[in-house]
Symmetry: C2
Subunit: 400 residues, 2 copies
Amino acid sequence: MPFSEFSDQQQIIDYVTQHIDYFTDDSTLQVTELSDGNLNYVYRISDAGGNSLILKQTPPYIRVIGDGWPLTQDRARIEYNSLKRTAERCPQRVPKMYHYDAEHCVILMQDIGDHDNLRELMIQRVRLPDLAAQLADYLAVTKFYGSGMGLASGEHKQLVRESQNPDLCQIHEEVFFLDPFCDHERNDVNPALRDEAEAFWQNNDLKREVAILKRRYMSDTEALLHGDLHTGSVFANQNSCKVIDMEFAFCGPAGFDTGVLLANFLLNYCGQNNLPGDADERAGYQDWLLTTISELWQRFSQRFSNLMQQHCVDPSLSDAGYQQWYLQQLWQDTLGYAGVEISRRTVGIAHVADIASIESETARADSERLALKIAESLILRRSEIQSPAQLADTVRQLNS
Amino acid sequence: MPFSEFSDQQQIIDYVTQHIDYFTDDSTLQVTELSDGNLNYVYRISDAGGNSLILKQTPPYIRVIGDGWPLTQDRARIEYNSLKRTAERCPQRVPKMYHYDAEHCVILMQDIGDHDNLRELMIQRVRLPDLAAQLADYLAVTKFYGSGMGLASGEHKQLVRESQNPDLCQIHEEVFFLDPFCDHERNDVNPALRDEAEAFWQNNDLKREVAILKRRYMSDTEALLHGDLHTGSVFANQNSCKVIDMEFAFCGPAGFDTGVLLANFLLNYCGQNNLPGDADERAGYQDWLLTTISELWQRFSQRFSNLMQQHCVDPSLSDAGYQQWYLQQLWQDTLGYAGVEISRRTVGIAHVADIASIESETARADSERLALKIAESLILRRSEIQSPAQLADTVRQLNS
């Protein structure tokens, strides 16, 4: 059936009041459009008493482009399934879901307006003391229980089938793993970074390693991923954090989620060299970022080890030697995929505000130069950089 | 609907004549039961003029056990799809398919009675000059065109979905990767090999490496596999070879097929130490087996490289450095999965006639001892044994 977009605010209010019994006084309802991602329509519906919820609608195209760039609405089902599974294991880490409408591709969910976008918080250098613990727990639990370690073999295969997301995966196969490593017409390169980008595209070792990482992304279905876990998909405050925007979810290599997240911490690190503000404060925040990465990995690997020891469905995968190997390999994957995410955010089509908001082309290129150096090191030296401490040393050395 | 087994030969003849127009004279048709695998019913239908075909029927249980061990009939669809795909790329390597009946789980296909079972041929030490080239070509073409290198990303994901085979994969997850590496009640161990088996089950390095290989088997969907490519699934003569019995097909790591095949060559090698016959002739055949493995790998990797260079759908996967890495990794996987197959055929539930037909318990244990040593070396040293020449040296050394 053809997609029916809401044509006015009253239609949105009618939709909400007809489908759920959330507001006590419907007469004061107001609608605000929040759509700030690229793909979907997002509205806040609120009453005069301070109650509110979010309506997310998935059109059969990319919202910011329009129907000239069609995109499967199956991404609404993918997001719904992934939100539901996450809520089963980590209810605190996702907005509550009130209603899902497969026909109209609509999800009604909790308004998390008391949280802020983590990318914005990091640009403003806000320190969040519980963030590492919250994200480490979310990552360990969702990766473990979305894999053949936490699920029986047949259940995992069913999850793989249900979570297939070929159209959105293909976008990422291109924008993560192809464009940033060649002079592609889709790329958006700062003119002041042109020489470094050209050199980056000539590096054959890099092409080989990125192909190795891409092969895994394309065919290794080990765990249900968020699929796009950058800091713009995380909302946080001093006490809480929530993960949203799961339309890129699929079963892939676990290190892709940890890698993309870690990359966005490092992209902010690069940005801090040239974002406005006091130099000491910026350097202090860079230290906080590296410490947070380290804490995140320590807590993640501790939690994951415990899950492997105590809850592996398959006895052959609870072997202690295998666990050690698995976590070491997951760290290497994390570094590799982090390098790919940093590359695509620096010379690819989609940049991040942590660096893109730096007004001067030259200052921006300075941050981007560091980002490219870090990306290259993570991809090429991922088996040498064996711990978060060594990663911090590498980053500091490249920044000196 | 309930399964309807053919109750007599006339029903089989009626089924064939009602469904295809193959025989010119129906009045002379005869039926012979050939069922020699464990899972299915197989009949030859022939007329007096020397024409014949094969009817394979898949019951909803394991044939040799009966309805006490139910098994999905979906394996008939899996086999049909896999036969069809193989026929598209390698028509000479599979029997022609005449008819597929999803409702009754019946396949009518070419009678390849002019070929003999490769395992039997190898026990009789028959040399087949074209075997390596034929199997190398079959393996390279089917693995390449069943992967994300030879298929567009979305087509590969569809193949992964269609080929999911959870019930049969679970059997292999247990009998390949669990039972042989612990003292499992399903195991069938020669009493004269008990000490070596006990030591084998104590090897923690082995458990770790087998878990690593199992993880890939469970979650890496890189290529459509035959899934059970032992020498009993290959029929051959001096000019031709055909591959059958594809009910274990699924998308998994390419090295599983090459590994299982190579393992069965090596199991025959171990058997030749104690099979009846002239010692020089047996030693000569062992040399032929190692030469054939070498030729098979050389031809396979050459063909696969050419396909990667010329027919990769994805430009990032045709990188020369990546190709070199890929084939080296595939060789390592081949050795690893070969080691697992040799293990399960030696101390697991399902033995092979190459060794099991040796009557004396002590002589059989002698061959099994060599098999276990080879298995252990292949699994633990798969990254050191870098070529078929080094593999031949390793095997000869363990046999000296």
